[in-house]
Symmetry: C2
Subunit: 149 residues, 2 copies
Amino acid sequence: MNIADVIHAKADGPQGQIFTIGPGDNVTTLLAALAEHNVGALVVTEGSADDLQVVGIVSERDIVRRLARDGAEILDRPVSEIMTTSVLTCTPADAVDAIAETMTDRRIRHMPVLADGKLAGLVSIGDVVRSRIRQLEHDRGQLEQYISS
Amino acid sequence: MNIADVIHAKADGPQGQIFTIGPGDNVTTLLAALAEHNVGALVVTEGSADDLQVVGIVSERDIVRRLARDGAEILDRPVSEIMTTSVLTCTPADAVDAIAETMTDRRIRHMPVLADGKLAGLVSIGDVVRSRIRQLEHDRGQLEQYISS
C-alpha cells in the first residue's frame, strides 16, 4: 500500500481537498481558514494555481506556541513568520509503512505529497496510521485464513 | 493489549506525567503550560491532589477555534469557557483496539484514563494507534513463524 492509495481514499471523503494559504496572509486569516475547512494545518504556497510551490506548512501547534511566546500581536503578523519552512514531503509512490514510521519517529503530523514536484495532496499522521492498521488487519486475516484452510 | 500497557509504556518516556490545569486559570496560562510541557492538550481538574475530579479537557484545537471566533479577548478568559466538558474517558482495563476505534471514529485526539474514578493518565490517539500497530505487527510475525515452521 502506498501514499497514492491514502490520497485516493481521502479524495472520496470530506477531507479530499487540499487547502492552502499564502505566506503573506496574516494569522487571523489563517485562523478563519482552519476553522472554515475544519483542519489542523494548511500548506503554504506561492505561485499560480497550475504551478504551486510549497514554501512551508503551518499548523495549530505553530499558532499556539507563538501565541505563548509573543502574545496577541502575532494575530496581525504574516503566516511566513510562524510557519515551518523545513517541510518533509513524500510522493504518491512512497510506501505507507515507511512514511508512518518517519511521521511517528519525527513527530510530524502533516506531510505534503508532491507528484512530479507539484502539490498533489496533504496526508496527516491519522490518515497514514489508519491505512497501516487496515493493511496489517488485512494481512493477519489472510494468514489466519491460510492456516485454517 | 489494554490501556494499562499504553500508560506504562508512556510512564517510562518523556510523556509519562499527567499535566492538568484548573478551570479558573486563564487561556494565557494554558498556552504557557502547553508550551512548557510540550503537549497538545491538558486535563482540566478540580479538587485536591489525592482526589482530582476531571471537569473537562482543553486542547490546541479549542484555543484556535475560539480565537477564530472571538479574537484575542479569549486570552484573558478562564479555561472553563473554552474547554470541552463532554469528555469521553476510558479505564486501564479497556482493550486498545476498541479505544483506537472509538477515537478514530469520533475524531477524539485525547482521552483521560480513570482508575476507580481517579485520574490515572491521558492517552492520545497517537499513543493508542502506535500500540495497535505494534500488536498487529507482532500478531503477523507470530502467524508467519507458525506457517514457516
